[in-house]
Symmetry: C2
Subunit: 335 residues, 2 copies
DNA sequence: TAGTATTATGTAAGCGCTTTCATTTATAGC
DNA sequence: GCTATAAATGAAAGCGCTTACATAATACTA
């Protein structure tokens, strides 16, 4: 591989000049620039990004930590991130945290050791304090899908409360008055926020959430099926159930079918997230869209703006979810 | 950040010695090693991987090019790859090729410019010749899910023909004799191979594929629904349809329902790939499992073995698919 | 115990760039 | 035409490591 030195020789200029041409430094005359460009072409020169990084103390790499690389969610996020950085000539190093504290901390440590210029973190298990401490170190980072007051300016998240509100309001508008709720693990902020939105929507109709119609699930399919069974077993009538995510909604759908109920004829089901398979369930799941790709892209922009000084870029920190009506919700029968 | 120099000062040894303890070079006495380790600890020293790379001309990074980062397929693959490399202290740089020639070549160029030690490529649009040319350059690479004779030793792929065979044989075993086929784009090798497997299975029962019961789809949902409509319109009776992938199978399922047919009562449907949502369709899709995560892992091992000389590692190049029976296939009614 | 083979450590030359500072060359002002 | 100023280029010092090669310390042999 040709080096900058060979280019400089062939072009008959100094190293420094070649470097200037590469970095589009203004201080090069047209004539020289052309000579250099031609020499590069001729040698098939490609800069050594490692050497560039060492000399400039910038790796042009951004570390991404997500919980999983598979699954319907993170792929979308990565897509948004990668596209944005690729266009900017930066590259992305990925690591998986598997929602476990030790693995997440490990992953961050790993990315840091890779000299990333910045980090985009989607972490669940690590403590707020850990992140606050991390923020005092060198490497800047953004947090996706997490709100920490002390770090508010580096958080990009969804208005989960609004999403919860929209889901339940939709059901109310369809005439439902007895609405069951299958929540996520309530120690997770987003699970709590979604439920609060649910409560607010009910309050708008002078209703409150009934204790007997609440089930705390685990954001997985089994949580949804267990939840539906528990709800049914409670004996309290309901005409709709909102699930705090699509996995649980899918579980509820399956359980309903197995128990001989028909959705949405017997009761309606709402999901949350609009993951890819929500479209493949039967009936197709009505849900709340989580604009995860856009949020990933925005995280990338935050980095571009804060770390690489691309100041023209606008950053939006809070995203709004919106309703995706499909087939799993119907109007309530008039009682 | 502390440098190796500061460590060496604190420990009272030379640069070289510190470097040796880092690289676990044997030629260091216990006493010195401990002194150095302690100094590192004390300074919170972390080696600068960029400088290491420049000096050793090894970046410890592996470039991954996949078609998409989202979707049910590539995430699994990346999971397998990342886990393997992470454990080996290597890192992964990802880029998306979007199944377009220019973007794929671009992506490869990009990864190359990042000084990757090796590449793992899942490319569809780039020509065989391009890859053969690439193989003559410095950077080694493995090909996932692609067979090129001239590059056989760096191909890791699924036995698609076998998969196609298994799918159809299963249907035959269930008593089906009139089996329709919705293929992928026949210019793609895997689509062709799967179809050949189908033919071989039929031949085993002294049957041949009927022209009228063949439809060339596009591996997408719409291809499946259009395909089913065309098949139905042909007027030829069939009791089962095998789709060359799960997306098309899902499309067929939806179309069947919309046209008033019931699966598997009216006819059975087979998919291929076993992507995550295959479990969420109704009825749950019987399909052929594509061990994509294992294959990703194997690609990573190939790299570890070939590029980083971890010779103890075994590499398997051809993977076998296997049958996943679920609910979309039933026994054929006796005629 | 001298002489040799080993083993442990140090010295210093890069790796391929960026960037500061100094120098040369062109442009302008009078 | 000569100085003052700006623009273009060059020289060279790193960036933080690895790795020959040289040297010093220790162990082994006869």
């Amino acid at each position: 591989m040709a080096t900058i030195y060979q280019v400089s020789e062939l072009a008959g200029v100094s190293l420094a000049t070649v470097s200037r041409v590469m970095n589009n430094n203004v201080r090069v005359s047209e004539a020289t620039r052309n000579k250099v460009l031609q020499a590069m072409e001729q040698l098939g020169y490609r800069p050594n990004s490692i050497a560039q990084s060492l000399a400039s103390s910038r790796s042009n790499s951004i570390g991404i930590l997500v919980s999983e690389l598979h699954g319907p969610f993170y792929g979308e996020m990565l897509t948004g991130i990668e596209a944005e950085f690729r266009a900017a000539g930066k590259h992305v190093i990925i690591a998986a945290g598997h929602s476990e504290r030790a693995t997440e901390e490990d992953g961050i440590e790993f990315l840091l050791s890779r000299n990333c210029d910045a980090l985009i973190l989607h972490v669940e298990a690590v403590s707020d304090q850990y992140l606050i401490d991390l923020s005092k170190k060198q490497t800047p980072f953004v947090l996706l899908n997490r709100q920490i007051t002390a770090l508010a300016d580096r958080c990009i998240s969804l208005d989960n409360e609004l999403g919860g509100y929209l889901a339940t309001r939709y059901l109310l508008e369809q005439g439902h008055r007895h609405i069951a709720y299958i929540a996520g693990p309530m120690w997770k902020t987003d699970a709590r926020d979604r439920f609060h939105g649910h409560q607010r929507a009910l309050a708008g109709y002078q209703l409150t959430a009934e204790e007997a119609l609440f089930f705390e699930g685990d954001f997985r399919e089994t949580g949804g099926s267990k939840g539906l069974q528990a709800l049914l077993a409670s004996g309290r009538p309901f005409s709709a159930v909102v699930c705090a995510n699509d996995e649980m909604a899918s579980g509820a759908l399956t359980a309903a079918r197995e128990l001989g109920y028909e959705v949405p004829a017997d009761f309606s089901v709402m999901g949350f997230d609009n993951v890819n398979f929500a479209y493949y369930t039967y009936p197709k799941l009505s849900t709340i869209d989580y604009p995860v790709s856009a949020m990933g892209q925005m995280a990338a922009r935050w980095v571009l703006q804060q770390v690489y000084q691309q100041s023209s870029i606008e950053v939006q920190q809070i995203f709004d979810p919106h309703l995706i009506p499909r087939d799993s919700v119907a109007e309530a029968a008039v009682t």
